[in-house]
Symmetry: C2
Subunit: 415 residues, 2 copies
């Protein structure tokens, strides 16, 4: 690579943008509640559009509500894209999603101001409803439309908690659900998403930024064990069919297995319901969830196979009926050497030490990975917190991230 010295990122501008964008949907001191297709979300998108036009980018909204801002290339061809989502949890913080949009904007603005139009087109995208915080089944709504994983029919079946379809909310913002197919892109050369880590690994490693080499496989399995409800005093242990005894043995074994495997394997039992739920009654049934994640496809499969083996064995041993149902299954997404190396080279050029890690959370980049090479960049999260108004990343850490993103986009668009 023959990249020149990259211009310094204006940290005051970055901080101003973060605080300014956080006003749209502000909750309390540091919280943000910006649900897709609401007034707060619209005004935030409008703010990003204004900033992008001021930076000399050409903007447009697609029919699902993603905002695109383009630095046209000197030669025709596909665009390299950066960005993230602008919708939030209810209530979330200032950084989750929004930071990737601001970072992309600052990077493109800095590049265009310093070097003029790129050789190959660069684009910023501000995606919508990654969080599914307004429409529970609409996760990755904006990026799914880009990779052609949503249809006009989906716009009727995806509903909010009151049962109103997402189509109505789209129309109220001027988007046409019937034309959601037009959102699909086949001219994207690659995608880089900068995001806060949402975990404690960078803090533990005392580093500001990580280059993400994979997004984990995420699988949710809902397991129901059914036995025989009886009197907790009058039924000896040796003739019980106690689903709670089965559940705790399965859960303890699955968690111990992930602990033995070590990073990046994780297994979480987050939800459980017991029927009946009384101190002196052996329950009839117990339903619980297993959240299992591993970024390596083979290791993920081995993890799921081990869980199934544990469940089958313990249910059979305890005379319990076992049913399981996949409620969520996002395949892993490996980062591509192209954007990955661009990020690493940019970091090395600036002498910013990075960590190499997998993402344990799902991201829009996982969707984008279906149509183009992707990579991600993580910025350190204070105490690993996220999805809360307390989430925080420092300006020096953020500037490190934007510096690397800028260098990478130079390598991908200007060299």
């Amino acid at each position: 690579m023959s990249a020149p010295q990259m211009p310094k990122i204006d940290s005051t501008m970055v901080e101003d943008m973060i605080l300014s964008l956080a006003q749209h949907g502000a909750v309390g001191e540091t919280g943000v509640c910006r649900l897709v297709y609401t007034d707060e979300w619209q005004s935030a998108q409008a703010q990003v559009q204004t900033w992008a036009e001021e930076a000399g980018l050409v903007t447009r909204f697609d029919q699902v509500g993603n905002l695109w801002a383009k630095a046209e290339g000197q030669t025709p061809g596909p665009s390299f894209v950066t960005g993230s989502h602008i919708d939030s949890q209810r209530s979330g913080g200032r950084y989750d999603g929004a930071l990737g949009v601001i970072a992309g904007l600052v990077a493109l603005k800095t590049l265009v101001a310093s070097f003029g139009p790129p050789k190959r087109a660069l684009e910023l995208v501000s995606l919508c409803e990654e969080e599914s915080s307004r429409f529970p089944t609409a996760g990755f709504w904006g990026s799914r439309a880009i990779v052609e994983r949503s249809s006009p029919e989906d716009c009727e079946t995806v509903v909010d908690e009151a049962g109103a379809p997402i189509s109505a909310a789209m129309r109220a913002c001027g988007f046409d659900p019937a034309r959601i197919g037009e959102v699909a892109r086949d001219d994207i050369a690659g995608f880089i998403e900068l995001h806060i880590e949402q975990g404690p690994i960078l803090e533990d490693a005392d580093l500001s930024v990580a280059v993400v080499d994979a997004i984990t496989h995420i699988r949710h399995t809902e397991v129901t064990l059914t036995g025989v409800s009886n009197h907790a005093g009058a039924f000896p242990m040796d003739i019980r069919a106690d689903p709670m005894a089965g559940m705790v043995e399965i859960a303890a074994a699955a968690i111990a297995h992930a602990e033995t495997l070590g990073r990046p394997a994780v297994t979480t039992i987050g939800q459980c319901s017991i029927n009946p739920n009384a101190p002196a009654i052996i329950p009839r049934s117990v339903t619980f969830t297993i959240d299992a994640r591993h970024p390596d496809p083979k290791a993920a499969k081995a993890l799921h196979d081990t869980h199934n083996l544990i469940m089958d064995k313990i249910a059979a041993k305890r005379g319990l009926t076992l049913t399981r149902r996949l409620t969520l299954d996002h395949p892993p997404c490996q980062s591509d050497p192209g954007p990955l190396n661009a990020l690493q080279d940019a970091a090395d050029a600036k002498d910013i030490q990075t960590l190499r890690m997998a993402s344990g959370a799902g991201h829009d980049a996982q969707q984008m990975g279906r149509i183009c090479p992707v990579a991600m960049l993580f910025v350190r999260s204070k105490d690993g917190r996220s999805h809360t108004p307390e989430e925080f990343s420092s300006i020096p850490d953020i500037v490190d991230g934007i510096q690397i993103l800028t260098g990478a986009l130079y390598r991908l668009g200007y060299c």
Copy 2:
């Protein structure tokens, strides 16, 4: 013992009484809902009173609503008492409690008809609100009053689910809460309770009746583990403080320990609540109950000590805050050799093979054990079922039980 051949128990009369008493508060085909101080409960007590007077017994109600029926002794002195409770679960079956009242009545009726008045007084008692099915904190209400474990103040603080005090319900039936102290007895020579087993042990052993040598220690501990709530994907296993991981490890170890100890130790995890309760979030806290039972005081203490050790160790290892609270603690009650041997001798005299076992459930006899020697007799339960309209004991099994009870009461009252 110089007991003559005992008269044959009239099985048709026994069956008629069971079916007839079950009409008071009948629910569906075989269910009974007979809550204390309701019309159904009053009419059932009146039915027992009529039968007792027809048998030549002298009846009275005490101020808590227990019905007493006495065969006066030829020599003055304390009474030997038999009986059980007549209130039911909502809905329960025909046998839980009621069978012990009918059995006592049939035994006294048979003895008086065959042998005239006893040497020493014999009494039947039909107790109230053993189940706490109308007033949740009133368990063993009738027997507690007899052993002086309730006060006029308790009659105001014990309330139903709507918040109405038990005093109001007592007054509506003509009982005076201010005089509950008068219910206490200091002239009881001993107490035998016949009850259905409510478990599967007799069925397993292919026997009709068991002589109960102890009632188990019952302890409920409510345990709360508090950790740190975080993202299920972004937080590695090795730095989590996951209360659910702690709960399942503790519960699995406690259950495995009871399984290793074998009968009569039991440990049940019947209730659990998780906060928050979502598949992809490591919970902040988990609260669960441990129901632990053992009839031997030393073994019960060792069981509780082991549970505390397991909890302390696992909470410390996982960096969790642990709190525990005793919500119920009924000490064990050992049967007395006097009534125990009377039961065994009576069974041997009739060539009825019995099992010797501990009761895993709590009973009024446990309360009575505070003021006099006690023992119990269990009759086989079909499939070990109880607290349901499906509970069932066969007439031949029941007659075996009444035959033994009759022989024992002869030995205690006539010899």
